[in-house]
Symmetry: C2
Subunit: 262 residues, 2 copies
């Protein structure tokens, strides 16, 4: 029992892997495949859909089906946290120059477009548990979108939560016209006497929701990396938590763990 669409998909996959069709090449058209395989339209289509779901090919309406090319990855390095902390105590001029994303990507501020919005919310059960506060605790929620100015879609979707009572002593932090915070979150937290001691990042992966696919401009056959970041202060409290969605086909996370010497 060889399923027809599976056989067609396997044959094409093999040819792609063997290099008979390289990245960017056009595959035979559906009508070609209908003829060469002797199968019906829907069957051939389903075969191509399988390859599309694997991220192997891309269908372009009215043009053809093409072997996918890998997008250039955006690197996100966990040394960014130490870098950001150091910057928080640097001079004001230095702080305004670059942000953590520029540090990662090596780009200029002008190459990037930020969009941020601000809201006050109450902790849900889920968030409260993760941050170690009761459900209903007032929080400050900030939502970020960052993209290259030359591109259409952002390369990250970020929602960040702060405990309102911890930051309320600096009114600037409750003023949404200040977005994005000059000098970064760690610098602003310093103004209310909070020092970050460690950062925990939880990483999982899954297919995107339709909303995420839409907002990140993800083609079918792509996964997202979901990163939940928690920043602990020197008193072991969770001071900030972020939920970050990253396109899997163009994001590479780098974590360096330094070990004690013998």
């Amino acid at each position: 029992m060889a399923k027809a669409y599976e056989k067609i998909a396997n044959d094409l996959r093999e040819q792609i892997r063997a290099g008979q069709y390289g990245p960017g090449d056009r595959l035979p058209s559906e009508s070609d495949l209908i003829e060469s395989t002797g199968r019906s339209g829907p069957t051939v289509q389903q075969a191509i859909r399988v390859l599309e779901a694997e991220g192997l090919v891309e269908r372009r309406h009215g043009i053809g089906t093409f072997v996918r090319t890998r997008r250039t990855p955006v690197l996100r390095d966990n040394s960014r946290h130490q870098w950001e902390k150091r910057r928080a105590h640097a001079s004001k001029e230095e702080r305004l120059e670059t942000g953590a994303t520029e540090h990662d990507t090596g780009l200029e501020v002008n190459d990037l477009v930020f969009h941020a919005s601000y809201r006050e919310v109450e902790a849900t059960e889920d968030i409260g548990e993760a941050m170690g506060v009761d459900e209903g605790t007032p929080l400050v929620e900030r939502t970020y979108r960052t993209r290259y100015s030359a591109e259409r879609y952002p390369f990250s979707l970020v929602t960040s939560y702060l405990i309102r009572s911890l930051v309320a002593s600096n009114p600037d932090l409750l003023d949404e016209t200040n977005e994005p915070w000059p000098g970064g979150t760690m610098n602003q937290l310093d103004t209310v006497g909070i020092e970050i001691d460690r950062v925990e990042e939880h990483v999982t992966a899954r297919p995107p929701t339709p909303e995420e696919a839409e907002e990140l401009g993800l083609p079918p056959g792509t996964a997202v990396i979901v990163l939940r970041k928690k920043q602990y202060d020197t008193e072991d409290r969770v001071v900030e938590m972020s939920h970050v969605t990253l396109p899997g086909d163009r994001t590479e996370l780098l974590f360096t763990t330094h070990l004690e010497r013998w």
Copy 2:
């Protein structure tokens, strides 16, 4: 222009999100949907396929279509590296007791089944570049599969590369009957005078290949996390590199970054 299958998928997705169908619940059968929507079989099927690809539902042949339940995640913590290094200098008895996976999962050795195989290979261009050696350099390749003894499929696919010349002075390391290495890789590297200084882990995500889906027992609508680990010794050489494939629906990576105090 409302695509019929999209509309059906959207309606069902909305109902699932609203909790009208909870995790584990059965959705209406295809024939029900054909009747209630007035659409043909293939159209209804395509709608369900969309939800399946999103990881939202699971189709069971001859039984029905069900809302997916989340699998219990396996946590993989980067403190495992420091833990493993410390263990490498512990007593022999301690070393034999547990491995890094047990450390992560809190399980006993008997709850886990390891399978390892050994091969000598030459560095490909790709691997050579990552490890900082010339193409063709002799390597030791070890392949691991780890699973819970109660389960059918492994929860990680690991391929590890060592530079042969660096480990050749200990014949035990070239003996494949020794798998898995007692005391762990860091302990064995210690026997040839190598100390690991830091670990770099590169993380990306993508849909699984058919082979990975098969070997990990992944249902459609799942992503994999791809982790490339590089271990640097105190002389800044890449001593070991691993390629790890993890099921995205049940793996959670945790990375803790400790920051210098002000």
